[in-house]
Amino acid sequence: MKRLVYIIPLIVLLGVVGASIVQMKSGKPANELPSVLINTPIPEFTLAPIKGRDQGFSTADLKGQVTLVNLFGSWCFACLTEHPFLMRVKEQNLVPIFGLDWREKDPDAGPEWLAKWGDPYTRIGDDPKSKGAISLGVTGAPESFIIDKKGIIRYKQIGPITPEVWDETLWPIIQKLKQEQG
């Protein structure tokens, strides 16, 4: 009985190591925060158009259809990795994508980036002071939100949208939401 007491620290240690391994194997970064906004209406904000455009982006634009809200910036390397995929989503007309051009230091940078790589967005709002980003509880770019027909946030994707993420997670959710009554 007494000897059992001495192996308790070892058991605790193994428990901690085991939990860490499970966490690592799950592939989710430990510092990823679950969004408190899931299943709540998207917080209202209105953003001005980016330079050279006349349409900005307001959350009121989203109602009535399933949409993907995507936060990007010309400075954001990971955004460029998902960009070709967003172009494909647009070409195949899968879901309208609304963009937040986040924290551009130079107002020309966003439009130039889009001219170079293509523009997959239905509407884009300029978000130099993070008003939209903070409204959405964003911590880094890229982040994407699936919004249902009622304007409720149903899913948050942190990091780039890869074909795997799209096929396994985002597209099934979007298809399901499209079936729902608006």
Binding site: L33, V36, K129, S130, K131, G140
Partner: protein, 168 residues
């Protein structure tokens, strides 16, 4: 020597009172000093979500700066301190508060350390109560083994030998 020590202490206290340099930049400061004070107070309670262990008041991160500006914007628009904190919690969750609120889900976080101290104290009390009086090492009573203890020791030692034999 004593004077030097005293001087160090005064310096240390002065630094710790005033030491946390804020990351706030001159162009962010509000014209109304009372409002600015409130903004500073709220900023100190909000976590910089990209640095994780700094308040937005301390952090040089761009997002922290934008959050500081938003805190001030909302205050200018008439929000109370609590309104601003609620606004951030609605979007980032309790995580954005440097001091987690006391709720059912955070009970263990708040009371866990005290529970551990109490458990530890109970353990210590039990440990010392079990030791017979006068059995402290070095006292006369423990210096020599009785024949009964000798027999016990012998059996324990032989027990250990067979144990290690089994383990191999």
């Amino acid at each position: 020597m004593k004077k030097l020590f005293l001087a160090f202490m005064v310096m240390f206290v002065a630094l710790s009172l005033n030491g946390q340099a804020s990351a706030i930049e001159p162009d962010e400061i509000l014209a109304d000093p009372a409002l600015e004070m409130r903004a500073r107070e709220v900023s100190k309670q909000l976590r910089c979500v990209v640095c994780q262990n700094q308040s937005i008041d301390d952090s040089n991160a761009e997002l922290a700066r934008d959050m500081r500006l938003l805190v001030r914007d909302r205050m200018l628009a008439g929000d109370s301190n609590q309104n601003v904190l609620d606004y951030m919690v609605d979007r980032y969750g309790d995580y954005v508060l440097l001091e987690p609120p006391l709720k059912a889900s955070t009970m263990l976080l708040w009371y866990g350390p005290f529970i551990l101290i109490v458990l530890g104290l109970i353990g210590v009390v039990f440990y010392y109560r079990k030791q017979p009086k006068g059995a402290q090492p070095g006292s006369e009573a423990s210096a020599e083994l009785s024949s009964e203890e000798r027999a016990k020791l012998k059996s324990v030692l032989s027990d250990n030998n067979t144990d290690s034999g089994n383990n191999q």
